[in-house]
């Protein structure tokens, strides 16, 4: 899920809160935390797919090979 990076602006207070709590958030950087939180939100709402079509086919094939699906 790595892709091209683009710059956006976020509220400075929000940024400060993330920076101050990076350790407790277990994140390596603000960017990493913001990306993973946004990804989780978009995935849960169905606006982003967890897999590319090729990955989904591969995972389904593996699940069939493992006997979980047929």
């Amino acid at each position: 899920m790595m892709g091209e990076k683009r710059a956006i602006e976020i509220d400075a207070g929000l940024l400060r809160a993330i920076e101050e709590h990076l350790g407790e958030l277990s994140a390596g950087s603000v960017e990493e935390y913001v990306e993973v939180v946004l990804r989780e939100r978009l995935l849960s709402q169905g606006f982003l797919s967890p897999y590319t079509p090729e990955e989904e086919k591969e995972v389904e094939k593996r699940l069939r090979d493992l006997g979980y699906l047929d």
């Binding site: 899920m1 790595m2 407790e24 958030l25 277990s26 994140a27 390596g28 990493e32 935390y33 993973v36 939180v37 990804r39 989780e40 995935l43 849960s44 169905g46 967890p50 897999y51 990955e55 989904e56 591969e58 995972v59 389904e60 593996r62 699940l63 069939r64 090979d65 493992l66 006997g67 979980y68 699906l69 047929d70």
Partner: protein, 446 residues
């Protein structure tokens, strides 16, 4: 407040464990000095959703996840793999994180793509491959590569007749997972450590016939007759090494999501539905074909189809209901009657010699505290899970003694294992749904 280490062994079976226990020094000591219970899994007793049921305390109906692949809508082809996005209920590590406590999670099915956690997360085998972002934080992946090399998410080419290769691959995966676990518990900070090793499941499915004299394909002369025991002895050593690295006073739980039993054969659920007139095709395939491919090709006559099924270790049956499915034909007022008819007839399917096989047919609303998402209308345990459900079409028969996707010797059984060390209590049986609250109470910190 104490540290809790949950060591998950996918598919570890209580009867098998008791049989092997005299040869397993680590597990033997844990059982003798601790508590041992049979752990009743959820229905269906399948890796996904069972592990996430354990860690959320929610049943499949509450989670709205009934297997590895679930209906995403009422269309005929709308199926999606159950990734972490499908699990919205807070897991035990989310609740501990809110208390300011850290968790390390390793290989738990249902955790890909990784969600943020207060701690570290290495997701499970539903990650598409080691090149994917399978950890939280993402930078953990580099650490893993430095510690153990290329990370093995799962055994590739599992459906093989080359058993020597399969055994070697499973051992390699287990060795690496435990090596990584040892690094994580010793070099990182944690209050909860929870891992799942898939090796026992892969070994059971691949080699059960070689171990079990009652299996129809058992060969007493097989060179692999002791392979499952040998694997458990290896696993026992790995477990002992990991336990020796845990800080003193850690509460250890060794658990599994379900057990294992011999697979007698398979029942062609869609072949049976076709034969009985419930599923109507526009053309019968010349070679075994998945129903999904027939749906995509427009070869199912939905205007005359009452029900269709999905295969796997258990069967799922869906009714084609008017006003619910796009071309539904079952009037809603006849739904219960038709479902009862199908349940009764599926339960009565005998083996090829006319002998009953003890099939159980379950209704979601009778199993679960809530029913969310889109459940199957019926959940079918052919031969009480000693027969699998074959969903492909084109065989012109309904009984199988081989799997349609390659060799497989075992099916799932409803009881897994629960070992607590130090001892908690001596209950003979627990529910998998109790583990979440137990972990919270053991870790404490509220």
């Amino acid at each position: 407040m104490k540290k809790v280490a949950v060591i998950g062994l996918d598919c570890a079976d209580p009867d098998l464990l008791e049989e092997f226990l005299p040869r397993l020094p680590t597990l033997g000591e844990l059982v003798r000095g601790g508590s041992f219970s049979r752990l009743r899994s959820v229905d269906p007793p399948i890796t996904v959703p069972a592990w996430m049921c354990m860690f959320t305390g929610k049943d499949p109906g509450e989670l709205g996840v009934y297997g590895f692949r679930n209906r995403t809508d009422h269309s005929y082809g709308g199926l999606g793999v159950a990734t972490s996005a499908r699990f919205s209920a807070p897991a035990v590590w989310d609740e501990l994180g809110r208390r300011g406590l850290r968790s390390i999670l390793l290989g738990i099915p249902g955790t890909y793509p990784p969600k943020p956690v207060r701690g570290l997360l290495v997701s499970g085998f539903l990650a598409p491959g080691p090149e994917a972002d399978y950890t939280y934080p993402a930078s953990l992946k580099e650490k893993i590569a430095a510690w153990v090399g290329d990370y093995i998410l799962d055994v590739r080419n599992f459906r093989t007749e080359d058993k020597a290769w399969l055994v070697e691959e499973v051992r390699r995966m287990t060795e690496q997972r435990f090596a990584l676990a040892r690094r994580l518990v010793t070099e990182e900070d944690w209050d909860l450590f929870a891992m799942v090793e898939m090796g026992p499941d892969r070994i059971h499915h691949g080699l059960w016939a070689h171990h079990d004299p009652g299996h129809p394909k058992h060969d007493p002369e097989s060179p692999f007759r002791d392979t499952i025991l040998d694997y458990y002895r290896f696993l026992d050593r790995k477990l002992g090494e990991l336990l020796s690295d845990l800080p003193g006073g850690t509460q250890v739980l060794v658990v599994s999501d379900h057990g294992a039993q011999r697979m007698e054969g398979g029942i062609g659920i869609n072949e049976w539905l076709i034969r009985e007139g419930y599923l109507v095709l526009k053309g019968y395939p010349e070679e075994p074909t998945r129903l999904g491919d027939l749906v995509k090709a427009g070869l199912v006559d939905w205007s005359r189809t009452v029900a269709w099924g999905e295969g796997g270790y258990y069967g799922r049956l869906f009714l084609n209901v008017k006003g619910r499915e796009p071309q539904g034909v079952v009037p809603p007022e006849r739904y219960q009657e038709l479902r009862a008819e199908l349940a009764e007839r599926l339960a009565a399917i005998p083996d090829e010699n006319g002998q009953p096989i003890g099939t159980r047919v379950l209704r979601p609303e009778e199993l679960y505290r809530e029913v969310n998402g889109i459940p199957p209308d019926l959940i079918v345990y052919f031969g009480d899970l000693s027969w699998r459900s074959i969903g492909t079409i084109g065989w012109d028969r309904i009984h199988f003694h081989e799997n349609d996707t390659g060799p497989d010797d075992a099916n799932h059984a409803p009881h897994g294992i629960f070992i607590a060390y130090p001892k908690l209590d001596n209950r003979g049986e627990r529910s998998i749904l109790e583990v979440h609250d137990l972990i919270l109470s053991l870790v404490g910190g509220e």
